[in-house]
Point group: C2
Chain length 103, copies 2
């Protein structure tokens, strides 16, 4: 599956987006990542697997244990794809504002 | 389902991203949208339904027929969510560059 498909698909879930948000502050162990969520450790692990498959997260060895770390590249690709349409939505919102101004 | 879930999920498909790209240039009829794709009109219509459900596309009446038009808001929300991590990937890529420079 193309990288962009996997990244968009992985981000289509609020728990996975929250995990990305948490990991943007630095690497963490699965147990620490799971603690604030009202779901089981197994459920969090499953979400992390989806993020790993989309290459949004990688496993890094830290002594005798593993940490999860965010990967920059797929996030940047999603941002790049979306930014192409910034001109579109700026124009639309300007038009809306102009219309409301006339009302 | 939250709007952001629906938007990310709808964009996790290359045909749907291509349809968004086409519609960013202006509204179009389903048949015109479908023409460049190597899939059936029915398949394109299904993809458009997914985009409509995610509120990325809306149907507008144009005389006796309907056109599809892109909607700005969900695209902007996806861009906003992703832009929060720009600082993260800029830092990562700067670190990588510094590391490669030392090698």
């Amino acid at each position: 599956m193309p990288a962009l498909d996997l990244a968009f698909s992985a981000l289509a879930d609020p728990t996975r987006r929250a995990l990305v948000h948490r990991l943007s502050r630095g690497p963490a162990r699965v147990t620490d990542l799971a603690a604030p969520f009202p779901i089981s450790l197994a459920a969090v692990s499953k979400h992390l697997k989806v993020l790993e498959r989309a290459r949004l997260v990688r496993r890094v060895r830290a002594g005798r244990e593993f940490h999860l770390a965010l990967r920059a590249a797929p996030l940047r690709e999603v941002a790049r794809w979306t930014a192409r349409y910034q001109r579109f939505w700026t124009a639309r919102l300007d038009a809306l504002e102009a219309f409301l101004g006339k009302e």
